[in-house]
Each structure stands twice: as C-alpha cells, then as structure tokens.
C-alpha cells in the first residue's frame, strides 16, 4: 500500500525534477510519474505546480526543452538537464543533505 501523498516542501519540487531528469530527457507527464515512482508515491505533482516549475527552471537555464515524439507517437515537449542544471542539482543535493541531517539531529536531541 502506498503512503499518504504529502504536500511538497517549498523548494523540493525543483530538486525532484532535476533528480528525475538525471536519468535522461523526459516530457512533463513522464517527470510527474517518475517523481511519484522515486518517492514511493509520497509526492504527487499536479500539472498546476509542475508546469510553472518547469518553465521557471528553463528560464533559469537549468533545463532546456525541445519538441519530440512520445512513446505513442504523440507530439510532446521534452526536457533535459543542462550543464548549469547538473551543477544546481549537486548544490541542491548537498544543501538538502545538510538540512535533513540537521533536522534529524534536532529530532533526536533530548
């Protein structure tokens, strides 16, 4: 059974999108499903949050887009990581590691 879907924390969506794109280029729905899969169904990304995030990240230069064919021969817009995006992913990953470590510390403290 899958856990309850949880609301995304501020700033985690970008990280998750970057992470899911590391496996290769993907269209919007693919990214959404990938996130759902890698978080074990904890996070469900609605298009209303996904698309603004994708477009924002594209404007930041972390990802780039192009039109391609979907697995069912449908025209779809694909996204892939750029160099800047990889760097951003590294930085974000480190930052996230620090945060989780700090939170864990805080929760363990008596």
């Amino acid at each position: 059974m899958s856990p309850e879907p949880t609301n995304l924390l501020q700033g985690t969506l970008d990280l998750l999108i970057l992470k899911s794109l590391i496996a290769g280029e993907m269209h919007g729905l693919g990214i959404s499903r990938r996130i759902q899969q890698i978080t074990g169904g904890t996070f469900v990304v609605k298009p209303g949050s996904l698309f603004p995030a994708l477009h924002g990240m594209e404007e930041e230069g972390w990802i780039s887009s192009f039109w391609g064919e979907s697995e069912n021969n449908r025209r779809a817009k694909y996204y892939r990581l750029t160099k800047a995006g990889r760097k951003q992913l590294e930085a974000e990953t480190k930052r996230w590691g620090r945060i989780t470590w700090a939170i864990a510390q805080a929760l363990e403290a008596s």
Binding site: G28, L29, K46, P47, G48, S49, H55, E60, G61, R75
Partner: protein, 885 residues
C-alpha cells in the same frame, strides 16, 4: 551564464509572446491527451478516462495562467495588459472617465497650487548661501521692528553671530537720465552683505567701510531686476552716478538675478548705506532708542545652536534693559524664520496656508470618497464579470490589481490635467500685482518642476485611495454565487455598504468647505460695508514725501503744504480738503504711549495705553469724512507757542476717563507734556479691518510738522479729472515732488481688504468645488441605486404602492445619508470657522444669515442632485419595465 539566459527568456516572453503562448497551449494539451491515454491503458472507459484526466490537470486555462505568472517579466506583461484593459474601459464609458478625470484634476490642482504657494512662501529657504544660518532678529513680542541702537548693541556684544545687519525699507525719488520717479529701496547697515553672503553680479556690494559714519560713502547697489528693466541691463553701469532724493550716489554693483532680498514679498530696487539715513530721511534716528523702524537679519556662526544664540540674546537684552530702563524696559529678543518679516506675517500666513492646505486635502479626500463610491458601484455592476474571470483562472489579486490600474490611470490623467491647471494658476499669481503702491509681488511662487513630482505623488495616492475601496467586494465575491444570481442580487433590505458611509462622509466634508466659504463671503461683505470711522467714498488721496524733493526742515514742508491746500481748496467742485502725515489703514501707522494727567514717571510700564496718532491739518476731518462728535476741529492757530491740543476718539476717552465727555480734559505724552482734548471723533479702523476698537488721536500738524503728506480731497467731480488737476497743482508748486500715489481713496484701501479677499476667493473656490463634488456624488449614487432597483420598484408600483412609499423605499436611505452628512458637516464647518476669524473680519458661523445660506444651499443641492433619479422612479412604467427584463 544564467543571467544571459534570463535576459533571453525575458526578451522572448516580451516579443515572441504569441509563439510562447502557442507553445504553452500545445504543451498543456498534449499533457492532457497523454493523461487520457494513460487512463485508457489502465482500463478506464474513454468517457471516464477523459473526466479523470481533466480532474487531475485541474483546468487547462488555470495551468496556463499559473505558468504565465511564473515567467520572467510576467508582472510587466500583465501590467501592460491591465493598462490596455483600463484604457479600453475608459473608452467604453467616456462619461464616467471624463467626470472622474475632471473631479480629480480639480482636486489635485487645488492641492498642488496650495502646496506650490506653501513651498514658495514657507518651505523654501531664502536664495542665499547657507540659508539655514540666516534668521530675523525681532523683539520678543509685538511689532517686528528694532531701533538702530538695539541692533548695534547686539552686533557689537555677541559671540554667536558672524554678522548682524539692519534693513529699512524706504521710498526714494530716484533721478536717473533726467527723470525722477519713486522707487522702493532700502538702507542697509554695514554687515548686510555678510549676512546674506551673496556674490555680486557686477561690481561690488556694500561693505562695512561704506557704513562707517554718515557720508562715508555714496555707494549704491542695484538689484538685478531694476538694472535689467530700468537701466537697460547696461554692462557699464558700475561707476555711473544717479541721484536719490537729490543726493548724488554712485552705483558700485548689481546683486545676482536669483537674489530677492531677505523678504519674500517684493524686492527693493536699490540699496544704500544706512549711515546716510539722516540726509535721506530728514531726521536722525541712528541714536534714538524709541525710534523703532528697522528689520534686523543675522547670520549665526557655524556650530552655534539656536538655544545658544537665544541664551546670549537674552543676556544682551537684559543688559540693555538695565542700562536704559526708561526706553528699554522689558526688552527681549527672539530669532524668527526670515522671509515673511519673521513671525509678524509669517505666523498668520503659515496658519492660513496650513488651513487652506487642510481644506484642499479635504476636497481631495471628498473627491476620492466620491470616486471610490462610484468605483464600488461599478465593481458591484461587474460582479458577474469578475466572477467569470475568477472561474476561468484569474486570481483575486489579479482582479484587484486590474481595478487599481484602472484607478491609477484615471488619477494620473487627472494629475496631468491638474499640473496644467496649477501651472497656469501659479504663473498667473506670480505675475499678479495687487493694486497698491507697495512692491508686493509673488514672484517666488513661480511654479517649480518639483511640483510635477508632487502632483504625480498626490495622483498615485489618490488613485490607490479610491482604487482600494471596492477591495472588500472583490475578496468576498464567490464565483459560484455571483454567476448563479447575477448582478441583481441586491435585495430590498441591503446592508449598509461602505459606499453609504463614504457618501455621508463626503457630504459632510463638502458641507465644511461650503460653510467656510459662506462665512468668509459674509465676512468680506461686512468688511466692505463696515464703518471705518471715515468715508473713503468720493475722496481722492494723494501721497508724497517732501524729503524726496529735498525739503529737510518742517518749516519748508509746512509752507509747501499750506500753499498746496490753499490752491486745492479753491479748485472747482472741491467740497473739502485737508492733509495729514499719514491716514488710517495706510501702511504707515505710528503708535505712541499716553499717560494720565497725574503721571510723573514716564517709563513704558506706567503708560495708560498705546494710541495710533496722526498729525492733521484743519479741514482733514471734513475731507476724510471723520465725524466730529463734540468740540472743535484743529486750527492753524494751534502752534508751537499755544498749548498742545488733540482730538481723540471715543475709545480713547472711554479708556482714560470711562466717559465720552472728555472735551477740555488733559492727558500727557511720553515727554510729560500735558495735552488738552479739544474734540471727540468717532471710532474707526487704523491698522487692520479685523482689529477691535483702538484708541487714536489727531494732533494739529501745525504743532508737529511732517514732510510725509497725505492730501485728502472730497469731491463729486470725475476722478481722473481731479487727479490730473491735483498732479498739475503739485507740479506747478514744485516740479521735484515725486507723487507716490494719487487716486480714489477707496481703491488705495485695497491692501487692507487684501487678506480677506484672498481668503474669500480661496474658500469660495473650495466651496464651489465642494458643492460640485457633493452633487456629483449624490447624483451618481442615487441614480445607481434607482437603476439597480427599478425592477423591484416597478413591481411595487404594479402592486399598488403610493408614490410616497416608492420614494421612501428607493431613496429613503439616500435622504438619511444626505441629512446626517449635512448636519455633521455644518457643525464641523462652524467649528472650523473660528480659525477664520483671525483673517476675515467678524467671520462667525453663528450668524443666522450664514447658517440659513448654508442650510438652503445644502437642501437645494441635495434636492437638485436627487431630482433626476426621483423623476425616473415616479415615471417608471411597470408594464414596459417588467416586459423588458
């Protein structure tokens, strides 16, 4: 290169917006299609698959809007959209737009104009270097004048001022290129140039050496405007000789163009050293402590604080008072901001301007309330539109922003018009010159570019102010409800809305301005018809100073004056003629203390009271129309050899003897001379029209000669004709006498009426504007209410309601608002009018005439503005109306 990427996307969003839009649309749709396919693959029937996909997507338009909001430059883009929409809205209802712009233009213009004057007269420092160190030095209370020795004591015994100077404004007969004409000049003491600290435009300024001793130098400095207009901007002016009151002076320099002296009203044309005053004024007052006739300006040393300067002034004043107990008892000094004769004019002017500024603010506030309620009404009309926009993905903030942009566009249009209006008004005011001989000009109020900024700020403020009024309406709009019930949701018993309160507040504010306008109008009316104690109608006043023609002795002046009187009296059509050194309500007023007959000690604290005094010739009483109530007129047989006599007014007699039967009784002047009262005259006005009755006395001019001459001629002949004849007679007697002014006495009194005229014009405009606003506001809201409920009302008519019932249903609330707003406004206005009484004669709102006028006006405007809607209600034909909708 993230920045580069960002800029590229910004430009792309801005210029390739159509492609970006198409791209986005395709992307979202392809996403939807994929979702549907996914669902079908999962085994859903096609219909169900589509539904589930749509639910997951959450609305194509909403998603697109969310993406748009996240784009770089999204704000700018949607702002432009809002702007375009706002302009379209204005084009669609030009009537509303025009009214709104007009109302705002007037409201903002009023504020900008008043602010412009306030800035010029009060806020802007003098045009001198380090203006914050320059102050006026004045006696602690009462008149703003110092005597020369007082100024000298401060100058020579202080450690806090880098320079101290005295200025006396003086009229000279200036003879240049063979023509003599009166000009305004000033005598300045040696450190004047150091106090103002300016650099000369040409040549040099007056220096300490010029003022060292009488006759030390015959140097004169021209002002830039005089040099420019009267001397043809002659670049070789330095070194040229002119004559002032027959004395030769050499022009040594010209002050810079932007220097306007230390006072903001007007400017003198020429400056000469004060040391030479005896030769110019005819009397020597440089050593007299009782001859207080100087303005004093000081420059405070750097690093010295105001309290330090004041403390030292206190010490100096105390020392002077100890040293000269007779003349200087109770002396005190204070520093006041320069520009308006320190606190003397500065106090009232600042007070009045602050009051008018407040009124202008009220008017603008009323205009905003007015537009706010119109906006709120319009927003209510647009409930359905707003609901639809929300339903298809617009956020509340976006809608609010759009309405704010609309409000701002209107108010900035208004502000632009207001700028034009204010510019014209201030330029007009700057070139305006009240009809007096005094060099009063408001050059300083020339509009400054900074006013545009002020106008812009006020417009934005106003726009936001009335733009946010429909805020609540937008935020409580529920798209579901609004679309279902449409715009006609207003039930018969609606709650009191914000716009009702606004309307009442606005009516109250407008009533305040109307009341103020009526009070000052009434005051001015009274001032025009009030008893002055003399009758300026049918009287010609001719004024000149014989010292300007070289008469230095009183005997010579007396000879000339008597000859003139004789010649003038014999002119055909002259009923009476007489002369005096000065006349009541002219700017030359002199005050002296009087003592009771029993007094032996003549220090200031022992005086009975101060009186205004005049030296008059026989016949002056008749010529000026001053009623002689008892006793006799003065006579040329009253001379220095006969006992001193005087005619006193009723107030004088009442104060000294507690009775008006004073003929034959005595009082003493400050030299201890006993003076017998030979006549009683009626009370009158001497200094200002708003003063309380003051004691005054006329002394025979043959017992105290004076070179200053005001000739009064009473005649029914044509004014221009008699003025020309009098000028001819004067010229015939001595060509060198420069006549300062000659004309109907009435028009020369204009200066006395000036403050109340200014007040009345200003308040009248505000009053009219307030009325306009309240009519517009009431009419707008009344017709809105009626049109909203016309359908419901016609049902009532169809069911047999009477006209009265219909009216009370339709406009009952309106009338309650009108009435309560008016009552509050009148009460507030009456309270505010107390402030006016300082400027306008007998301004009082307790006057039944004023109250009646205000109430009448309010009722009239109220009925006018609801008349249209009322007619519409009564004429409503239920049958056709109900069929239509």
């Amino acid at each position: 290169m993230p920045l580069l990427v960002k800029v590229r996307s910004f430009l792309r969003n801005l210029f390739l917006s159509r492609r970006v839009e198409v791209d986005l649309d395709q992307e979202v749709h392809s996403h939807l299609e994929m979702l549907i396919e996914e669902n079908i693959r999962a085994g859903m029937p096609p219909h169900e698959a589509q539904r589930a996909a749509r639910i997951e997507l959450g609305g194509v338009e909403q998603v697109k809007e969310q993406v748009r909001d996240s784009r770089t430059g999204a704000f700018l883009d949607s702002l432009l959209q809002d702007l375009r929409f706002a302009l379209r809205q204005m084009r669609r209802s030009p009537g509303f737009a025009l009214t709104a712009v007009l109302i705002l233009a007037l409201g903002i213009a009023a504020n900008v104009i008043v602010f412009g004057v306030l800035q010029a007269l009060v806020l802007r420092p003098l045009d001198v270097p380090h203006a914050d160190r320059v102050m006026d030095l004045q006696p602690k209370d009462g008149s703003p004048f110092l005597s020369y020795p007082e100024m000298r004591d401060v100058r020579d015994n202080n450690t806090v001022f880098s320079a101290v100077a005295a200025v006396e404004v003086q009229e000279f007969g200036l003879e240049a290129n063979g023509v003599t004409r009166p000009v305004w000049g000033c005598e300045v003491s040696g450190q004047y140039s150091e106090v103002v600290g300016i650099k000369p435009f040409l040549g040099r300024l007056l220096q300490r050496a010029d003022d060292d001793h009488p006759g030390a130098s015959e140097a004169a400095v021209l002002s830039w405007p005089a040099w420019n207009s009267d001397f043809g901007a002659d670049p070789n002016i330095v070194g040229k000789t002119i004559r002032l009151d027959k004395h030769p002076y050499t022009i040594v320099g010209v002050t810079p163009e932007d220097f306007h002296g230390t006072e903001k009203f007007g400017q003198s044309d020429i400056c000469v050293p004060m040391a030479n005053e005896a030769s110019l004024d005819g009397i020597n007052w440089l050593e007299s402590r009782s001859h207080k006739n100087l303005f004093s300006v000081v420059r405070i040393k750097d690093g010295v604080t105001m309290p330090q300067a004041q403390a030292e002034l206190n010490t100096i004043a105390a020392r002077i008072a100890r040293q000269y107990p007779k003349e200087e008892e109770g002396l005190g000094f204070k520093l006041a901001r320069p520009g308006l004769i320190g606190d003397f004019l500065g106090g009232p002017v600042r007070g009045f301007l602050a009051g008018v500024m407040g009124l202008a603010g009220i008017v603008l506030l009323a205009a905003c309330a007015n537009l706010g309620s119109l906006f709120a009404a319009r927003t209510a009309d647009r409930t359905r539109e707003i609901a639809i926009r929300m339903a298809i993905g617009s956020s509340r903030w976006r809608i609010l922003r759009q309405i704010l942009v609309e409000a701002l566009v209107i108010s900035i249009f208004g502000g632009a018009c207001a700028c034009g209006l204010a510019w014209m008004a201030l330029t007009g005011l700057a070139s305006w010159h009240p009809s007096t001989k005094f060099p009063i000009k408001f050059l300083v109020v020339m509009p400054q570019p900074s006013l545009i900024l002020i106008a812009f700020l006020i417009s934005v403020l106003a726009g936001v102010l009335f733009g946010v009024m429909p805020l609540r309406q937008i935020f409580k709009t529920d798209p579901n409800d609004a679309i279902k019930s449409g715009a006609s949701q207003s039930s018969a018993v609606r709650r009191w809305a914000l716009r009702d309160v606004l309307l009442a507040a606005q009516i109250a504010l407008c009533c305040v301005t109307v009341t103020a306008a009526f009070v000052s109008l009434r005051g001015l009316g009274k001032a025009l018809t009030m008893d002055l104690g003399f009758n300026p109608k049918n009287a010609i006043r001719t004024q000149f100073d014989l010292t300007q023609a070289g008469y230095t002795s009183d005997a010579a002046a007396d000879h000339f004056q008597r000859q003139l009187l004789e010649r003038v009296s014999q002119l055909p059509g002259v009923e009476a003629a007489g002369y005096a050194n000065t006349t009541p309500l002219s700017l030359y007023q002199t005050v002296t203390p009087v003592y009771s007959q029993q007094s032996v000690d003549f220090r200031p604290s022992n005086k009975a009271f101060d009186i205004y005094f005049y030296h008059v010739s026989p016949g002056y009483l008749a010529a000026s129309g001053t009623p002689l109530l008892a006793g006799r007129d003065v006579s040329f047989t009253d001379t220095a050899k006969t006992p001193a006599v005087a005619i006193v007014n009723q107030e004088f007699a009442r104060r000294l003897f507690h009775s008006e039967h004073a003929v034959g009784r005595y009082f003493k002047n400050r030299y201890g001379v006993s003076i017998q009262i030979v006549g009683i005259m009626a009370d009158g006005k001497h200094f200002t029209l708003s003063e309380d009755p003051e004691a005054a006395a006329f002394f025979p001019i043959s017992q105290g000669g004076d070179t200053m001459t005001s000739l009064i001629v009473r005649t029914h002949r044509d004014t221009a004709d008699i003025v020309a004849t009098i000028r001819e007679v004067v010229r015939d007697l001595d060509r060198a006498v420069p006549i300062e002014e000659s004309g109907p006495w009435n028009s020369q009194l204009a200066l006395s009426l000036f403050p109340s005229q200014v007040a009345t014009v200003a308040l009248g405009i505000f009053g009219a504007f307030g009325l306009l606003l309240s009519i517009a506001g009431t009419f707008g809201l009344a017709s809105y209410t009626v049109s909203k409920r016309l359908r419901e009302l016609s049902i009532r008519v169809a069911l047999g309601a009477q006209a009265k019932q219909i009216l009370s249903a339709a406009l009952g609330r309106m009338l309650i608002l009108l009435a309560s707003g008016s009552v509050v406004g009148i009460v507030l206005g009456a309270a505010a009018s107390r402030i006016l009484s300082a400027i306008v004669y007998q301004a009082s709102a307790q006057d039944p005439f004023v109250l009646a006028s205000v109430v009448f006006t309010t009722v009239l405007t109220g009925s006018l503005s609801v008349a249209g809607p009322v007619r519409r209600v009564l004429a409503a034909d239920p049958a056709s109306l109900l069929r239509e909708q």
